[in-house]
């Protein structure tokens, strides 16, 4: 599909309580990666989102991927409102996890509250970016026991402003403000990267607008697999009206820089 070997910054392993997933183990993910030429996938535990002790999900994906550690970069799913996250964070950092993953809308804490502030500072101290998905599922199809909330992106931008030394990655992000909108000046002033799988390269062209407003160095490639089917993300880059260097940044270079590879 492309000469550039992509890095998928938005993938998962494991099960989701509210919908059966398939192709959700390491072997199946590797098969998808090999088909599309993906060198590394940044994976989070899908189970961890709903475990009371979400660190158990980190343990699971660490064990599942250790035979292919060169292909998987791991997100450490942590809940700063739960017991012992400090020790869990240290354990993940020691074992080479690449970033902290937060879900404030599942774990019921405020992203602009004290608990979140502490874990953001701790991740920054450990040299880890903080990744937050805009959502896990579309709430219009939510299971009756699932959350009704998505991430408040404006709140994320404010929190990023409060933590200027931290680095944030918004996966499942949808930045669709029009060109020239005040929103973009706010995002430019904070250290937030965005993964592109919810955006588009045609008509509204939110990918193109984001690149124009923030620069190509802020956008990362991701599929959302196995929650989402992978080809849409590849098509968005394939048909994006941008030169090869920009596409290489999005597909690979920005992720290498962000995750210190």
């Amino acid at each position: 599909m492309t000469a550039v070997r992509p890095i998928d910054c938005n993938a998962f392993l494991g099960n989701w309580a509210f919908r059966r997933l398939r192709r959700n183990d390491a072997q199946e993910l590797l098969a998808m990666m090999d088909h599309f030429g993906i060198t590394q996938a940044c994976v989070a535990s899908a189970d961890a989102i709903l475990y009371r002790d979400c660190h158990a999900g980190n343990e699971e994906i660490f064990e599942e991927t250790r035979k292919h550690a060169d292909r998987f970069w791991l997100y450490a799913t942590l809940n700063p409102a739960y017991a012992g996250w400090e020790r869990d964070l240290a354990s993940c950092a020691e074992r080479g996890f690449k970033a902290v993953r937060l879900y404030p809308y599942y774990h019921e804490y405020a992203l602009d509250g004290a608990d979140a502030s502490r874990i953001i500072d701790a991740a920054t101290e450990a040299g880890l970016p903080v990744s937050i998905p805009g959502r896990v599922v579309d709430v219009r199809q939510r299971h009756w026991m699932d959350t009704k909330k998505n991430l408040d992106v404006d709140q994320l931008i404010r929190v990023a402003g409060d933590h200027p030394n931290a680095t944030f990655l918004l996966t499942e992000g949808l930045l669709n403000a029009p060109p020239g909108d005040d929103f973009w000046s706010k995002v430019r002033g904070v250290n937030v990267y965005v993964e592109m799988s919810r955006m588009t390269s045609v008509l509204a062209n939110s990918i193109g607008t984001t690149i124009d407003e923030l620069g190509a160095d802020r956008m990362l490639f991701g599929t959302g697999f196995p929650f989402k089917t992978p080809s849409p993300a590849f098509l968005k880059i394939q048909i994006l009206e941008a030169d090869a260097a920009v596409k290489q940044q999005i597909l690979s270079e920005n992720a290498k820089r962000l995750f210190g590879a």
């Binding site: 398939r22 199809q141 939510r142 045609v202 959302g224 089917t229 590849f234």
Partner: protein, 273 residues
């Protein structure tokens, strides 16, 4: 797993048809003129993705829209058809409860060669007020594409109290088995697993795969539930997403061909007016 590429799309020996797309009006006026830039953007997107034909309806005709609103919307569709005659076909949008709905359908479908009728959520597909429209479409053997879904969050349900769900399609198809009913956008935001369970009981209802929900396995599950002969490619403005869903479906070449246009062309070929 089987992942296709756009090269597979280009190799198809028939036009690729997006059976569910929209054109917009310019400005804030619901009765405003065609947004030509957006209309041309559809063609640009189609060119980049290998889509040959878009079947379009007016967008945002929500609520209790009356004749003047949907008539103006259908004028925009006609403008789009005239602007890109080889690339755009038109759906005639009406509010089923409007007394002039059948007159508008006659004008657009019979006289101006619109391909069928597009309905939104003013009424459910199985309500009596829709029956004269279904009967007219049966007589002319033209399809009805209906906005549909099973939204499960309270806010979306509150906004669309009369959205057609799959069980409503089962009711309508049972009463009118000759009707060419298309349930819109299985990926439009709603419990698609619930919808597929019901559509197994409606063997004459078609389903389009459009919508912004890109759940892995969704199209394959739809094939399992309905069979490939009842599935239709569509975007509903989610261009790369819908094409990607089709490319990732675990279909053989014949099935892929059916999905990408052969099934819908067979519907269009039944036209009897």
């Amino acid at each position: 797993m089987r992942y296709r590429t756009l090269d597979h799309v280009k190799r198809l020996d028939h036009p690729v048809i997006d059976c569910h797309m929209h054109v917009r009006h310019r400005g804030e006026d619901w009765r405003g003129p065609l947004d030509e830039e957006y209309c041309d953007g559809i063609i640009d997107a189609n060119d980049r993705l290998g889509i040959d034909v878009s079947c379009v309806a007016p967008i945002r005709l929500t609520g209790d829209r009356r004749y003047e609103d949907f008539h103006a919307g259908n004028d925009r569709v006609r403008e789009a058809m005239q602007r890109h005659p080889e690339r755009i076909k038109g759906w005639c949008f009406v509010n089923s409860g409007d007394p002039k709905a059948l007159d508008e359908i006659t004008r657009r479908v019979r006289d101006e060669r619109f391909i069928g009728v597009k309905l939104y959520n003013q009424y459910r597909i199985d309500e009596p007020v829709v029956e004269p429209i279904i009967e007219r479409c049966i007589e002319w053997q033209v399809p009805i594409l209906m906005h549909a879904g099973r939204p499960t969050d309270p806010a979306t349900r509150a906004r669309q109290p009369r959205i057609s769900q799959a069980d409503h399609f089962v009711n309508a198809a049972t009463r009118f088995p000759e009707a060419l009913l298309i349930e819109g956008h299985i990926g439009g935001g709603g419990d698609w697993e619930w919808s597929l369970k019901h559509l197994r009981e409606a063997p004459t209802v078609y389903l389009d795969i459009s919508g912004s929900v890109l759940d892995e396995w969704m199209v394959d599950r739809a094939v399992d539930a309905l069979g490939i002969d009842r599935l239709l490619f569509a975007t509903d403005m989610t261009f790369e997403g819908s094409m990607g869903k089709a490319l990732d479906a675990d279909l053989d070449d014949e099935g892929f061909s059916k999905l990408m246009g052969a099934n819908f062309q067979a519907i269009l070929d039944r036209r009897a007016v």
